[in-house]
C-alpha cells in the first residue's frame, strides 16, 4: 500500500487545485489584477516623474528660473508682451497683482505668485521637495521602527520594556505639536542639527525628513513589534534555534522576512501621512525652509492672494490631494493583495 504522499503525487485527480505557490507571487498577481490600485499607482508615478523633472520643465519649457523674485519681469500672453506684476486689481487699483493663469505651458501656465515667480515651475519644484521629504521620512521611519521592533521583540524582557516605554513617551505627545516643538527648537536655536560628526543645515531637506520620521516611529513600531512577537513564538524559529542558528542569523533569515510584509502594507499609507505632515509643517513655517519650496509653503504664500489669485492656493492643494489619494488607494490595494479576506466560506 503506497503512502498517502505517494498516492497523491501519483494521481493528478487527488492533487488540490491551488498548488502551493509563492505567497509573494500570489500577492503580486492579485495586486496586478486590481485595476483601481494599478491606476492609482500610475497616477502617483506620473506625479512623481513630473515633479522630479521640475528642472527640465523650468529650463526647457518655461525658460525660467523660478526661485529668485521676478517683480519686474515680463512674459508673453496671446502674442502680447505683458508685465508679470500688474497694477492693482479691485475697484481702487491698489497694490500689485501678479498675473493669473495663462494656460500656456511655456509662459506662466498657472500665473505668478506675489514675488512674480512662475507658479507652474514652483509647483513642480515644490512637489519635488514634498515627495522627497515624504518618501524619505516614511522609509527612514519604517527602517528605524523595524530595527527597534526586531530588537525589542527578539530580546524581550527588559530591553523590550525599555524600548516600548520610550516609544510610549514619544507617542504620548500629539504628533503635530511635537513636530512643531522640535522643528522650532532646531531651526532657531541651533543653526541646524548637530549629531556628533553629522551636521544638517537648517535649509536642508534632511531636517524636516528626520523630524517627521522621528515622530512617526512609535506608530510603525507598534504593529511591527506585534508582528515580530507573533513570529518569534512560532515553532520554526524554535526549530532554527535548535539547529544552532545564532541570533543575527535568526533575526535576518527567519524573523525579518516574515515581518517585512507588514512594513510593505504600511508603507503607502505612511508616505501619505508624512506628505500631509510635511505640508502642514511647511504651511506653518516650520517645515521646508527657504530657499526650498514645498506644496505647503506655496499654500502659505497663497494666503495673501487667496481672493484675487486663487490658483496659487488651489493648485498645490490639489496636487497634495491627488498624491495622497493615489497612495491611499494603492495602500488599500496592497493590503488586500497581501492579506485578502477569504472570499470563500464553505463549511463542512
Amino acid at each position: 500500500m503506497a503512502t498517502l504522499l505517494e498516492q497523491v503525487e501519483a494521481d493528478p485527480g487527488l492533487r488540490p487545485a491551488v498548488a502551493g505557490r509563492n505567497p509573494w507571487a500570489l500577492a503580486a498577481r492579485r495586486l496586478w489584477r486590481n485595476r483601481i490600485a494599478m491606476a492609482s499607482l500610475l497616477l502617483f508615478l506620473v506625479i512623481a516623474v513630473m515633479c522630479l523633472a521640475a528642472p527640465l520643465y523650468a529650463h526647457n519649457v518655461a525658460h525660467v528660473n523660478p526661485f529668485p523674485p521676478n517683480l519686474n519681469g515680463h512674459t508673453v500672453v496671446n502674442g502680447k508682451v505683458v508685465p508679470v506684476m500688474r497694477q492693482g486689481g479691485g475697484v481702487l487699483h491698489l497694490g500689485e497683482t501678479p498675473i493669473g493663469p495663462t494656460w500656456d505651458p511655456s509662459h506662466y501656465f498657472l500665473g505668478a505668485d506675489s514675488l512674480g515667480r512662475d507658479m507652474a515651475a514652483l509647483l513642480l519644484y515644490g512637489g519635488r521637495s514634498s515627495l522627497l521629504v515624504g518618501i524619505g521620512a516614511a522609509v527612514l521611519c519604517s527602517l528605524a521602527a523595524t530595527v527597534i521592533a526586531l530588537i525589542a521583540g527578539f530580546f524581550g524582557g527588559v530591553t523590550d520594556s525599555l524600548l516600548s516605554r520610550l516609544m510610549d513617551v514619544i507617542w504620548a505627545f500629539p504628533v503635530y505639536l511635537l513636530a512643531i516643538c522640535i522643528s522650532t527648537e532646531l531651526l532657531t536655536h541651533s543653526n541646524g542639527f548637530q549629531f556628533g560628526p553629522l551636521h544638517v543645515q537648517a535649509s536642508s531637506l534632511w531636517l524636516p525628513t528626520i523630524i517627521i520620521a522621528f515622530i512617526y516611529v512609535p506608530y510603525v513600531y507598534r504593529p511591527m513589534r506585534g508582528q515580530v512577537l507573533s513570529v518569534v513564538n512560532k515553532e520554526f524559529v524554535e526549530a532554527s534555534t535548535a539547529q544552532g542558528a545564532g541570533n543575527l542569523r535568526l533575526i535576518f533569515s527567519e524573523i525579518l522576512p516574515n515581518v517585512v510584509s507588514t512594513a510593505i502594507v504600511l508603507l503607502p499609507l505612511m508616505i501619505a501621512t508624512t506628505i500631509l505632515t510635511e505640508a502642514a509643517l511647511s504651511f506653518l513655517g516650520v517645515g521646508v525652509q527657504p530657499p526650498n519650496v514645498s506644496w505647503g509653503t506655496i499654500i502659505q504664500d497663497g494666503t495673501d492672494l487667496i481672493y484675487t489669485r486663487p490658483w496659487v492656493t488651489i493648485a498645490p492643494g490639489l496636487m497634495i490631494l491627488l498624491t495622497v489619494l493615489s497612495l491611499n488607494v494603492l495602500g488599500d490595494g496592497v493590503r488586500d493583495a497581501l492579506d485578502p479576506r477569504a472570499k470563500l466560506r464553505v463549511e463542512g
Partner: protein, 323 residues
C-alpha cells in the same frame, strides 16, 4: 461598576501628578539649559533674569521649585509670560479653552453622526455603486490637507460666493464667545466644524464600514440571523453595537488629541484663538511659561478623556467589566 469608575478617576489623578512632575523636569532640569533664560524668552536682560530666579526659586532645592511652579499654575495662577509682555498665562489658557472646546465638540458631534451614517450606508448599499462611491468620497476626505480645505472654504465663503445667499451669513474669521452672542457663535463655527470634521468622517466612515463587514462573518451574527430577526435589527443591534467598541476607543484618542491642542491648523486658518492657536504661537516664540501651561492643560484633558473613554468602553463591552 461604581468602584471601577472611582478607581479609574483616582488613577487619573495619580497620572496627572506624574505628568506635572515630568513636564517640570523637562523644562527645568534639561542639562545644559538654563531655565531662567528659557523662561525669559528672547533677549533677556540681567534684571529680568534675576527677577525670574527669585520668583521661581531657582536657587532653592528641586522639590521647592516644583512646589512653587505648581502653586503658580494651579493656586495663585499668576504665572507670567515674559516673551509676551507679562501676560498671565493661566488666564490666557482658560480664556482660550472655550473656543477650542466649542470647535472640537461641535465637529465631533458632526463627524460621529455622519461617520456612522456613512458606515451604515456603505454596508447597506454593498454591491451597488453607492458603496465604492461613498468610499471614494471618504478617501478624498482623508487625503485633503485640513488647512487647505480651510483655505478653500474661506475662499468660497468669505470671497467668491460671499455675496450670494449661500454664504452671506458667514461672519468674518474669528471666534465669538457663546455668552456674548449665541447666534454669531454658531454662525462663526459652522464652516470650521465642517472643515475639521471632513477628515474624520472619511476616516471613521471607512473604519466603521470595515468593522461592520468583518463582523458579518462572526458566528453570533449568523446566530442572530438564524433567529429570524430582521436584517435591519441585525445590523443596528448586533453588528453596529459590537463595531462601536473599536470606534469608541479610536474616537477617544482622536478627540483627546484635538482638545489638547491638536486642532491648531483649523484654529489658525479660521482665526479661532483657541488653545491650539495659543500653543502654536508659544512654540514658535519659544514662550516657555505658556508652553508649560498648555502642555499641562493638554495632558490633563488627554488623561481625563481617556478615563472617560475607558469607562465608556467597559459599559459597551461587558467582558471588560470587573466581576
Amino acid at each position: 461598576m461604581l468602584t471601577f469608575i472611582v478607581r479609574r478617576l483616582l488613577w487619573t489623578v495619580l497620572v496627572m501628578f506624574v505628568i506635572t512632575v515630568v513636564v517640570f523636569i523637562i523644562f527645568f532640569k534639561t542639562p545644559g539649559v538654563d531655565p531662567a533664560r528659557a523662561i525669559a524668552g528672547r533677549n533677556p536682560n540681567a534684571q529680568t533674569l534675576a527677577e525670574i530666579r527669585a520668583q521661581f526659586g531657582l536657587d532653592r532645592p528641586l522639590p521647592v521649585q516644583y512646589g512653587l511652579m505648581m502653586k503658580k499654575i494651579f493656586i495663585t495662577r499668576d504665572l507670567v509670560s515674559y516673551s509676551n509682555q507679562g501676560v498671565r498665562v493661566v488666564q490666557e489658557v482658560f480664556a482660550a479653552t472655550p473656543a477650542t472646546l466649542s470647535l472640537v465638540f461641535g465637529a465631533a458631534v458632526l463627524w460621529v453622526v455622519l461617520a456612522i451614517a456613512v458606515g451604515i450606508a456603505a454596508t447597506l448599499f454593498r454591491g451597488t455603486v453607492f458603496d465604492p462611491l461613498l468610499m471614494v468620497v471618504a478617501l478624498v476626505g482623508i487625503s485633503a490637507p485640513v488647512f487647505w480645505v480651510g483655505q478653500i472654504a474661506n475662499m468660497i465663503t468669505q470671497g467668491t460666493l460671499h455675496g450670494t445667499f449661500l454664504f452671506s451669513w458667514v461672519p468674518p474669521l474669528g471666534y465669538t464667545p457663546f455668552t456674548q452672542n449665541p447666534a454669531l457663535w454658531f454662525k462663526g463655527l459652522v464652516i470650521p466644524w465642517i472643515t475639521l470634521s471632513i477628515l474624520y468622517i472619511g476616516f471613521y466612515g471607512r473604519v466603521l464600514r470595515a468593522n461592520l463587514l468583518e463582523v458579518q462573518n462572526e458566528d453570533y451574527i449568523r446566530t442572530a440571523r438564524a433567529k429570524g430577526i430582521s436584517e435591519r435589527r441585525v445590523l443596528l443591534r448586533h453588528s453596529l453595537r459590537t463595531s462601536m467598541i473599536t470606534f469608541v476607543s479610536l474616537f477617544g484618542l482622536d478627540f483627546a488629541v484635538l482638545v489638547a491642542g491638536g486642532a491648531l491648523l483649523t484654529e489658525v486658518v479660521f482665526g479661532i484663538h483657541g488653545v491650539g492657536y495659543l500653543t502654536w504661537q508659544a512654540l514658535t516664540n519659544l514662550d516657555l511659561p505658556t508652553i508649560m501651561a498648555t502642555t499641562i492643560y493638554g495632558a490633563f484633558f488627554i488623561v481625563l478623556i481617556n478615563a472617560i473613554v475607558d469607562i465608556g468602553y467597559a459599559w459597551l463591552d461587558p467582558r471588560i467589566r470587573p466581576t
